[in-house]
């Protein structure tokens, strides 16, 4: 414990010295987030300085081993770092699907050669990754995917189409589920890694109802994917045809991350804030709306406690392995309800789509964005199926 306190004061001092004041402000728009990659540019010097300081210290991926670009922090130290960063509202120095998704998969399933190369590239923000999972015909039923990689000896020729590839139009590489055996649904998928600059890859942004386009359709037209990028650096994670194991692991990881996020902004009570918001609009809460807010706050505060319990139990291996599905289900449904109520309090003001007063329609766009919460990363229906099967052990689930 004494060590931890030492670490805390050192960290505090380091942050004080290295995190520029501009990087201690809340993230206001997309440009405030640094995603890295070949084509990345910094918004300003402060963003660059903060990023570079973190790379040097291993703080873009603090819990990863030092040899892969991390800082090798223990879980307790990583928590201290998170707390200290949160204390000064420090922005994340780097955001990426490499950090959140591919990294954990490589740490679990990757070869030493893959880790050396890809993890370091991620940690240093050199390569921006995107995820190629869903296809138009396979959403919840991911395993029915059709994108096919034909085996040509030392390479595959990949044809097919992915959908919901996040920022594919800005990504450098993709980690992609490709069918390599048409005879086995589960054991016929390979978790491939390849360059988005390969010939035959095209992307098309998808316009969402919120007006944003964070996702793309991505098309593969005879894309040649070599089976290896050098010694001990295969172009796939895990084994050929066993990519589903990797994907399942990552889906669980993703749900855990989403559900773990429940402890933060998502779960807070909103009634008091809404009363102030109404007052700012020269108004007060309708009695029935107030009652709905009270009922919501009961659920939100209770869910916050659950989030805390869940994280505590995860740490010591007490949580049911399928519990992240429950957390994801409830957390996302709650968040949708939260935004419905916020829209109601905001009234006609919150309907505005482009006005300056609403920062370009932030309330409405944010509200619409939440509707994806219960779809992405496994729909609420799939979550309920998983609970039925794995926790309640219901027949035929």
């Amino acid at each position: 414990m004494a060590d931890l306190e030492t670490f805390r004061s050192e960290t505090r001092a380091w942050l004080e010295a290295n995190c520029p004041p501009e990087m201690r402000e809340p993230v206001r728009d997309d440009e405030d987030v640094y995603w890295g990659g070949r084509r990345a540019t910094f918004k300003n010097d402060a963003q660059k300085a903060w990023f570079e300081a973190c790379v040097a210290k291993g703080y873009t991926v603090p819990a990863w081993p030092k040899e892969y670009g991390g800082a090798g922090l223990s879980p307790a130290e990583a928590k201290v770092l998170r707390e200290e960063m949160s204390r000064i509202n420090a922005r994340p120095p780097l955001s990426s699907f490499g950090i959140w998704m591919l990294g954990p998969a490589l740490l679990q399933f990757g070869t030493e050669g893959q880790k050396q190369r890809f993890l370091n590239e991620i940690a240093r923000g050199e390569i921006r990754w995107c995820q190629g999972y869903s296809e138009p015909g396979s959403g919840s039923d991911l395993v029915s995917l059709q994108t096919y990689g034909e085996d040509k000896g030392d390479h595959w020729v990949v044809n097919g189409q992915k959908i919901w590839t996040s920022y594919a139009d800005q990504a450098d590489w993709i980690f992609c589920l490709v069918r390599t055996d048409k005879n086995d649904k589960y054991k016929g998928i390979t978790f491939m890694l390849y360059d988005m600059a390969s010939e035959g890859v095209t992307t098309k942004p998808i316009l969402l109802i919120s007006g944003n386009s964070p996702f793309c359709e991505t098309f593969f037209d005879n894309v040649k994917v070599p089976k290896s990028y050098g010694e001990d650096v295969p172009a796939y994670v895990g084994e050929v045809n066993r990519g589903w194991d990797v994907a399942k692991y990552l889906l669980g990881h993703e749900r855990e991350m989403i559900s773990g996020a429940g402890g933060g902004e998502r779960s807070a009570a909103i009634g008091a804030m809404m009363k102030r918001h109404a007052a700012k609009l020269g108004d007060e809460l309708d009695p029935v709306l107030r009652a709905e807010l009270a009922m919501f706050d009961v659920d939100a505060l209770a869910y916050t406690a659950m989030g805390e319990k869940f994280l505590d139990e995860i740490k010591v291996g007490k949580a049911h392995p399928a519990q992240p599905n429950m957390m994801k289900y409830v957390g996302t449904e709650l968040n949708k309800r939260r935004h419905e109520l916020m829209m109601a309090v905001g009234g006609s003001r919150s309907l505005e789509w482009e006005s300056e007063d609403t920062g370009g329609g932030k309330p409405a766009r944010g509200w619409l964005r939440t509707k994806a919460n219960s779809i992405e990363g496994g729909t609420s229906e799939v979550m309920l199926n998983v609970i039925s099967k794995r926790i309640l052990d219901l027949p035929g689930a």
């Binding site: 919840s140 905001g346 009234g347 006609s348 409405a364 509707k371 229906e381």
Partner: protein, 379 residues
């Protein structure tokens, strides 16, 4: 009166459904004008067509050149507008303003109704002053000034405020902000000196304004109804508008539901049509039940209103609240059951969600009207 459409009404429903599906559909109207960033938020061509069909003046007395129909008939048109998400000034011009003008003098009627009926003049209404619907509080003031008035104040959520030719404004001519009495309604030209509009696009691609009146000078003949006695006109206008908005909401709910049920019969996952999954079946069946009920109470409110029943006010709030809850359910289930593609702009289901949000807010949301039901019931 039986709670279903009589033969004439059924025929009107057929006509309206056919016309709106053909001319007012999403591709031809909502997306067309939205994608062109049209600042009016609706198509004038369609509006003229609706005038030619007689829709625009259907609530206006025959003596005044209208069709002299009732709110059941207006509701039929509105339901089809809702189902097709058709942008038009029907609710503001042909329901709200037309109802207000009914209370005007012959002079007022003669001045405004012919153009309104012809679709040449579009009316907006300016009621709300804060972000929520609070018609019991009116702070916008019209001070006596010579033979006329000077109007000052700010109104919000003036739907069609930017493209309308005339605005019906509820203002205070005496008393204090929360008084019941002392209200007067005025017909104000959109371009009158001293008036300024801050036009904003709303989530459903419709246009509304924050409209500021800065000592706008009005003649005495701008008054609709009695000076200081405008509360009754305002109430009548709100009543008609709420029942109309409920009817449009029923259309939104039905449109979203139909689209979703169709999708359940087409989309396959896990080797089965998703409509085969019992959990979705039960939710769809629950939604169907709610939509049927919302529609029934809306027709009930229309009939009571047409019959001049004292019950109409209560039933209008019941209908507005019930429809708001039901259409909300319909669009939420719609997007969720569509899954990822439900989140894309390419699919129409998201447009229903956006329209529902704006429509439910207009003239009071489910919370406002549930509370009103309690108050009118004495608790």
């Amino acid at each position: 009166m039986p709670l279903y459409h009589n033969d004439d009404q059924a025929m009107l429903a057929d006509t309206a459904a056919g016309f709106m599906a053909e001319e007012g559909n999403i591709a031809k109207q909502l997306r067309h004008w939205r994608d062109r960033n049209c600042k009016d938020g609706f198509g004038h061509g369609l509006w003229k067509q609706m005038a030619e069909m007689g829709f625009t003046g259907m609530l206006v007395d025959e003596a005044d050149g209208g069709l002299g129909m009732g709110h059941v008939e207006a509701g039929i048109v509105l339901e089809e507008i809702g189902r097709n998400l058709t942008p038009s000034p029907f609710l503001t011009s042909s329901v709200l303003a037309a109802t207000a003008l009914k209370h005007g003098s012959d002079d007022v009627k003669g001045r405004y109704l012919p153009d309104l009926i012809a679709g040449d003049s579009v009316f907006a209404v300016a009621i709300d002053e804060t972000a929520k619907h609070r018609p019991s509080r009116i702070a916008t003031r019209a001070e006596k000034s010579g033979n006329g008035f000077k109007l000052s104040g700010t109104k919000s959520f003036v739907v069609q405020g930017g493209s309308a030719d005339m605005i019906v404004v509820a203002a205070r001519t005496s008393g204090s902000d929360d008084d019941v009495d002392g209200i007067t309604l005025f017909a104000v030209p959109k371009d009158a000196a001293g008036i300024s509009h801050d036009a904003v696009r709303l989530v459903d691609s419709s246009m509304a304004t924050h409209t500021k009146f800065d000592g706008v000078e009005l003649d005495g003949d701008a008054v609709i109804g009695e000076i200081d006695g405008g509360r009754a006109v305002l109430d009548a206008m709100l009543l008609a508008g709420r029942v109309g908005a409920a009817a449009e909401g029923v259309g939104v709910a039905r449109g979203a539901m139909d689209m979703t049920v169709d999708y359940l019969k087409q989309r396959k996952q896990f080797g089965r049509l998703i409509g085969e999954f019992q959990a979705l079946q039960h939710r769809a069946s629950h939604l169907y039940s709610e939509v049927e009920i919302a529609r029934a109470v809306t027709i009930k409110a229309q009939q009571l209103l047409d019959a001049g029943s004292q019950q109409a006010d209560l039933m209008a709030s019941v209908a507005k609240a019930k429809v708001a809850k039901t259409a909300r359910l319909a669009v939420q289930e719609g997007v969720q059951m569509h899954g990822g593609i439900g989140m894309t702009d390419e699919y129409d289901i998201g447009l229903y969600m956006k329209r529902d949000r704006a429509l439910a807010e207009f003239l009071g949301d489910a919370y406002f009207h549930a509370n009103r039901v309690a108050e009118l019931s004495g608790y």
